[in-house]
């Protein structure tokens, strides 16, 4: 069990949220971009809003920044209603997706821009900007224009500019979107370190679930203007509450079926698709014979050539596709019902004497606690 002092704020009863989003709706004409969203974000969190394009995540972020006015609902930051506060007066800074660096200003002037607006004395501006340049390791670029920088350097300048005013809340719109894969991974960890060091609350918008997983303390999965699930990354992945979340985060196999037996500590499901009875060791709130779906992650599935001695969760099929990825291999197995199951296996040994290959018939199985039942 986690110790009391390390318990994250969102798990404590009565903890005061730093950002309170209350029943926010935003409509553009007939189109509802954000639909009655309520969300609490706590101090020092690195909260990720994860969703595809058109999910409303960017609109929600822009409402926090003040660039969009909610059609209805309320946003409180540190207990203060933001409705009548203009973007330039909010204790919030934003890092834009395209970075939005001022092309006619040097790196130094870009970073100093926010401080100058606050009429900070010149000497202090120089000191603070220089400290920030040092922290971001971009001191040698101080006098360059943004167009003379690489993507990674621009990203640092944008982050420096957004952090220089020491905002209580930093909004990041796809912060790593414009970087290549290697740089992305490095920067992800750096971003977490910076957040930790400065103790600023971060709200990150991203469509990249890997990015959300590595960065976030909690993830809010968004689709069609609604937040479907808010949880820690592990819970979002292991215990998706809906089909939408299960399918959006990572890959997952879903078997349709009907409940045949539901008890307080388990559910039995008959699935024609799986050609097997399925057993899940958690309870659900359901009617008898209700249509449900069972979801299993590809890496939770075990593979064997011999029939395992199991009454439930045991499938049989033919390998129709396999891909060697280095650290793991991906198999696509076709069941009798025609359903295709995706399985990933780690490549534990270098040379397999009897490797699984195309057209092999294999048994698939998984533990009772490896799957989840999805009602919606």
């Amino acid at each position: 069990m986690i110790q009391e002092s390390n318990t994250p704020l969102w798990k404590l009863d009565g903890a005061k949220p730093f950002i309170q989003i209350k029943n926010i709706t935003k409509k553009f004409g007939e189109f509802t971009a954000v639909d009655n969203v309520s969300l609490d974000i706590y101090e020092n969190e690195l909260f990720c809003l994860l969703g595809g394009s058109g999910s409303g995540k960017s609109t929600l972020l822009r409402m926090l920044a003040g660039f969009e006015t909610p059609t209805s609902g309320q946003i409180l930051i540190d207990g203060v209603d933001m409705a009548d506060i203009d973007p330039w007066d909010r204790p919030i800074n934003m890092m834009f997706q395209s970075y939005a660096l001022f092309p006619h200003m040097t790196v130094f002037k870009n970073i100093a821009f926010g401080l100058k607006r606050d009429k900070v004395p010149k000497k202090e501006i120089t000191e603070r900007v220089n400290a920030m340049l040092k922290m971001m390791q971009i001191e040698e670029f101080a006098n360059r224009k943004p167009e003379q920088l690489s993507g990674g350097q621009r990203q640092r300048v944008a982050l420096a500019r957004a952090l220089i005013k020491r905002p209580k809340l930093l909004l990041l719109d796809e912060p790593l979107g414009a970087l290549d894969k290697k740089l992305r991974e490095e920067t992800q960890f750096e971003l977490v370190n910076i957040q930790d060091e400065l103790g600023v609350t971060f709200v990150v918008v991203t469509h990249d679930q890997e990015e959300a997983m590595t960065l976030a303390t909690r993830i809010g999965v968004m689709g069609n203007g609604v937040i479907s699930q808010v949880d820690e990354p592990r819970d979002v992945y292991e215990y998706p509450r809906s089909r939408f979340v299960a399918e959006f985060v990572g890959t997952i196999n879903i078997f349709e079926g009907r409940v045949i037996d539901a008890q307080t500590d388990y559910v039995k499901i008959a699935s024609k698709e799986a050609c097997s009875k399925l057993f899940v060791n958690h309870s659900i709130n359901c009617a008898p014979k209700q249509k449900v779906a069972v979801a299993v992650r590809p890496e939770k599935i075990k593979v064997s050539r011999k029939k395992p001695d199991l009454a439930y969760n045991c499938l049989y099929g033919k390998i129709i596709d396999l891909a060697y990825m280095g650290n793991l291999s991906i198999f696509r197995v076709k069941l009798e019902s025609g359903k295709i199951v995706r399985v990933t296996l780690p490549n534990l040994v270098r040379e397999n004497q009897n490797p699984l290959t195309w057209d092999d018939m294999i048994y698939l199985s998984w533990d009772n606690d490896s799957s989840v039942v999805l009602i919606s």
């Binding site: 203009d86 973007p87 934003m94 395209s98 939005a100 092309p103 821009f113 607006r117 005013k165």
Partner: protein
């Protein structure tokens, strides 16, 4: 064996030849693209300029054409004479009339350019902020006046501004004035004429830069604590400098040499170099003097612009 070598050499030769031809065709392609405007400029700008410059060094004469030759060949004595008269240029400098005309033209052009910018910028800003279908319509409206002859439009302004014209009648009708105002044949009318005529030349380049302007830059400025007014002056305006520069040049240059507008709308004492030129040519029939005036005008206009341009390019590098 020899056959094989032969084919090899032939093949080699062919690749070299194709490479050579490719290079040649690239060079030709580039040349032909540049050559059309270059030839155009040479025929219709540079050569006429040299002719004008040549005339400016001659003396007026009662002849056709009404100036002396620079180059005289005396066949009897076998003497070639070249006569260059720089007196016209000296006279331009000595007679304050010409200097006044230049200064007055530059002043009128500068003030007009300023007002065109002042009126054109909000218009361009407004158009650039509209959605694309509305933008096309508004831009068409901006260009629409070009479908009517420039001369007719200036005449129309005479109709507006004259003693019993629309403006005066309207002001009298609403009781703002008792007596009609002297609007026509004033500097004011010249300003109105120039601003009206050249406004599209200001709006179009401004619109192009404003339309390209990344909206997130202004949002970033606001996000960092700049009020909308501050964001405009610190981000929008500096980002528009290329458009402002282009627009001002497009208005200022033709405005300096403007003849029709001051002639039709201006007072008899509205001094502009275009009118001086006209008078020298057609009133005094002093072609060399007129040519000198034209040459100096060109230098006054082109040299500072060239400096500005190179300065800008260096800044970019």
């Amino acid at each position: 064996m020899s056959n094989v070598t032969g084919t090899f050499w032939l093949g080699h030769y062919n690749t070299i030849r194709t490479k050579f031809n490719l290079l040649k065709s690239i060079r030709w392609g580039r040349l032909s693209v540049i050559s059309i405007p270059s030839v155009w400029l040479a025929i219709f700008f540079f050569i006429p300029f040299l002719v004008v410059f040549k005339i400016s060094l001659a003396e007026p004469a009662i002849a056709v054409p009404p100036y002396t030759d620079l180059f005289v060949w005396d066949a009897d004595n076998a003497i070639a004479e070249i006569k260059l008269k720089f007196g016209n240029y000296l006279y331009l400098w000595e007679d304050s009339f010409y200097l006044d005309a230049y200064l007055s033209s530059v002043k009128i052009a500068a003030v007009s350019t300023f007002f065109t910018l002042l009126i054109g910028f909000p218009m361009a800003y407004y158009i650039a902020g509209k959605k694309s279908s509305t933008r096309t319509l508004l831009l068409t409206l901006v260009i629409l006046p070009f479908w009517t002859s420039f001369l007719l439009r200036v005449y129309a302004w005479m109709g507006f501004l004259k003693k019993n014209g629309i403006v005066n009648e309207f002001l009298q009708a609403i009781g703002l004035i008792d007596q009609p105002l002297q609007l026509l044949q004033t500097d004011f009318a010249v300003y109105i004429g120039i601003v009206y005529t050249y406004l599209p030349f200001m709006i179009l380049p401004l619109y192009t830069t404003l339309e390209k302007l990344d909206g997130s830059l202004i949002e970033a400025a606001k996000d960092l604590g700049a009020s909308p007014v501050k964001a405009f002056f610190l981000v929008t305006l500096p980002m528009c400098m290329p458009g402002i520069f282009a627009g001002c040049l497009l208005v200022f240059i033709p405005a300096v040499g403007e003849f029709v507008i001051p002639a039709l709308l201006g007072a008899s004492d509205t001094l502009m170099i275009g009118r001086v030129l006209w008078d020298e040519f057609f009133q005094n029939r002093d072609w060399p003097m007129a040519s000198a005036v034209a040459t100096v005008m060109l230098i006054i206009l082109v040299v500072p612009i060239m400096f500005l341009r190179t300065g800008k390019n260096e800044e970019k590098q």
